[in-house]
């Protein structure tokens, strides 16, 4: 469960937070919660970040762990401790292969969690890391990944504060899995809430989509395709810092579109705010190599995972300032306004083409490319 629900103080309940409710006896919680998840077994799709994942989180995890279906699900939770709000999130990495052009599991594990905090309006301060290792893993492989983590943490300015290691029998895991949990400090001057999104707001994308997912696909060597392409894995915090500085009060919502791609993130937003997300196909940055691979394989770049991009919804009066700030920041030169929020089609993502056609783009269904992060 990567998406952590926003733990808010419910109104009219003596300021008792949902965290307090979590500490209530488990049986009362479980008894009260309706379990709507009815799938007989867990499939790969439940981990793909699309529709099935959402059903699992909302239908099983949330009612049992939070006691109710929570509000909109964000990338990190904000928790208030003695008057100080901190942001907390966690993410597991099971990518195959472990390393690929542009990055590796260690780097992903740091940047993924840093980014989940960043798009929640927080700067990552500290991470704890858990390794699940398969017996027989060469030490050299582990060392390379630990070094990659150390470097990524240093680059992102985040401390790795603690960790845990488990080893399972050979054949019971695929080399290594990494989980990182991060806490962050809220950045001043920005509030992320899908319910604050309004008609006329602009949808921004920080750069080309699909690089990560297609890179992984090609790195597996199952397709006889070669392309000069690298994963986009990076910390997006510097870009978000620049964005907040230039357009903080105008930022309504942000999300890093990892598994399930931009289409899934925007569908979640459309559902959470009840408005229509209208995208202009010719404005969406996609590299030719990614487009080519998607054409060949029948995939939609909007469904492909990213590791170093983010989407933002910004009020119209701040849109120019936001794009200018992103384009001037290092690594942000390809940022684009890719669409806008409209009243219709409510709860839906619609892509329009230059020649007047349009199509609905749904959340990812199933899992075209398992284990990409």
């Amino acid at each position: 469960m990567r998406r952590v629900s926003q733990l808010r103080t419910p109104q009219g309940s003596n300021g008792k937070s949902e965290l307090d409710r979590l500490s209530a006896p488990a049986n009362t919680l479980a008894d009260a919660a309706p379990i709507r998840f009815r799938d007989p077994q867990i499939e790969m799709a439940h981990g793909a970040g699309g529709k099935a994942s959402r059903k699992l989180v909302e239908g099983l995890f949330a009612p049992l762990l939070f006691g109710a279906v929570p509000g909109p699900l964000g990338d990190a939770a904000h928790v208030n401790i003695n008057g100080t709000t901190i942001s907390i999130t966690t993410d597991s990495f099971v990518v195959k292969p472990l390393s690929f052009p542009g990055g590796s599991i260690g780097e992903l594990a740091v940047n993924g969690t840093v980014n989940d905090l960043a798009v929640s309006g927080a700067k990552a301060e500290a991470l704890v890391v858990t390794f699940v290792l398969e017996a027989g893993l060469p030490t050299s492989v582990l060392e390379a990944e630990v070094r990659a983590m150390a470097k990524a943490a240093q680059d992102a300015g985040v401390r790795i504060a603690a960790g845990d290691t488990k080893v399972v029998e050979h054949g019971k895991a695929d080399q290594m899995y990494v989980t990182t949990t991060g806490i962050g400090r809220l950045i001043h001057g920005v509030t992320i809430d899908p319910r604050s999104v309004r008609v006329g707001d602009k949808i921004l994308l920080s750069g080309p989509i699909g690089d990560h997912g297609v890179t992984i696909l090609l790195a597996r060597g199952e397709l006889d395709l070669e392309a000069d392409l690298r994963s986009d894995t990076r910390s997006v915090f510097p870009l978000i810092e620049a964005l907040v500085k230039a357009a903080g009060p105008g930022i309504r919502w942000m999300r890093d579109p990892t598994r399930g791609g931009a289409a899934t993130s925007l569908n979640e937003l459309a559902r959470d705010c009840g408005l229509g997300m209208v995208l202009f196909e010719d404005q969406i940055p996609v590299r030719d190599t990614v487009r080519g691979a998607c054409e060949l394989l029948g995939l939609d770049p909007l469904h492909i995972a990213n590791e170093g991009q983010f989407l933002a919804v910004v009020s119209p009066e701040y849109a120019d300032a936001a794009i200018n700030a992103l384009c001037l920041a290092p690594g942000g030169s390809e940022a684009q306004v890719i669409g806008e929020v409209r009243e219709q089609p409510a709860g839906t993502v619609l892509v329009t083409t230059l020649y007047g056609g349009s199509r609905i783009v749904d959340m990812l269904v199933g899992d075209p490319l398992p284990r990409i992060c």
């Binding site: 020649y355 056609g357 199509r359 609905i360």
Partner: protein, 375 residues
């Protein structure tokens, strides 16, 4: 991107759409069937319905190989894969298609060794690197994919690979079109002919449609401009009272087809006397089986095949949708019991299936329009 962007140029598309509107006028209704699932997908993906006049109705045809496969064949294939040390290999399209006990992916989640391959030769590669296992390739497709299955078996024989077999579900397009035309509830004016199939079989096999049935057919490419141009060509024929086979997809489809591919098919396959199609029933000489020369690679001869026959759920109207009698959303189960997450029929699974395409790209738009017209 070359060979793609040229065929998506907005000015040309607008011009061609204008030409269609001019030719179609307003005084009559045109019913055109796109035979191929790839075309169905393109129509939805590019939103072509938005730019066509209302009096041109596109009817989705039977050209989605996953969709026309009866559920019993999936059960049969999965039954073989229950044997010890068998690897079930298939294209990604097949993975979520439901059998009575679940899809190949669900079997995989329960422990079956199921692999997605991108070509039959990848399945043969699996056999090479897993000499202690048997790799069964679940072959589907029209003449588009049959040659590569044939070549793979020829290569397996040449290399002396014995742990490889094919569960053959290859079907042929022309008998399916004939069955559609024989169906009394169909009133079609013209056909948008299949593009990929025709790269193999060429354009001649469609001549009887023009000659005997007096219906124009234009073999078409898959980009927006291809399809619009094909519609222009069909309208011109209809207005001139002509019925002939034309080739819009000349950059890919040779009139005489691909002789090398046809030779490979002839080497390995023979026609089955009859084969069951989902929704269309049994159609004679409409499918391929592996001939005796290649019997050792025929999973149906090598393994005990239960020969399961499953009737579709009563309420599901896959057959009517496949024949184009019903639109996807007119099926009783559409969007309720049958959704892309929980498909009942294969039409809801494959990206080429009209129900899946309609569900993901269209139906909420339709709902939206009807809502806004009320308000």
């Amino acid at each position: 991107m070359r060979f793609v962007d040229e065929f998506r140029q907005p000015e040309l598309i607008s011009k061609t759409a204008e030409e269609i509107r001019r030719l179609a006028g307003t005084d009559r209704h045109y019913r055109m069937m796109e035979v191929c699932g790839g075309h169905t997908h393109a129509i939805y993906r590019f939103g072509l319905k938005d730019i066509l006049p209302e009096n041109i109705e596109l009817i989705h045809g039977p050209g989605c190989p996953v969709c026309v496969l009866p559920m019993g064949r999936i059960d049969d294939g999965l039954a073989i894969a229950q044997e010890p040390d068998v690897i079930f290999a298939a294209f990604g399209d097949m993975m979520r298609v439901p059998g009575t006990q679940g899809s190949p992916l669900e079997h995989k989640a329960r422990g079956m060794d199921v692999r997605i391959v991108y070509s039959p030769s990848d399945a043969l590669k699996l056999a090479r690197v897993n000499p202690d296992k048997h790799v069964m390739f679940f072959a589907i497709g029209f003449e588009t994919t049959a040659p590569s299955t044939a070549l793979t078996m020829m290569r397996a024989r040449a290399e002396g690979i014995h742990n490889f077999s094919v569960f053959c579900n290859h079907v042929t397009i022309v008998p399916a079109i004939r069955a559609i035309l024989d169906s009394p509830d169909m009133r079609l004016d013209a056909f948008i002919g299949p593009g990929h199939v025709s790269t193999v079989i060429g354009c001649r096999p469609y001549e009887w449609i023009a000659q005997n049935e007096h219906k124009p057919i234009v073999v078409s490419g898959f980009e927006p401009l291809d399809m619009l141009q094909s519609i222009v060509m069909l309208l011109r024929q209809l207005q001139a009272g002509e019925a002939k086979v034309e080739n819009q997809y000349k950059r890919v489809v040779p009139w005489e087809g691909n002789r090398a591919a046809l030779r490979a098919m002839a080497e390995v396959f023979q026609l089955r006397p009859y084969f069951e199609w989902r929704g269309l029933g049994f159609i004679s000489q409409s499918a391929l089986r592996i001939n005796d020369k290649y019997a050792e690679f025929d999973a149906e001869q090598r393994f005990e095949v239960p020969g399961i026959r499953v009737t579709d759920p009563k309420a599901a109207q896959c057959g009517e949708v496949l024949k184009g009698v019903l639109k996807p959303h007119q099926c009783k189960l559409f969007g309720r019991e049958c959704t892309p997450e929980h498909p009942i029929g294969a039409l809801m699974v494959s990206t080429e299936g009209s129900c899946a395409a309609y569900h993901s790209y269209e139906h909420r738009k339709a709902a939206m329009v009807s809502l806004s017209s009320i308000a």
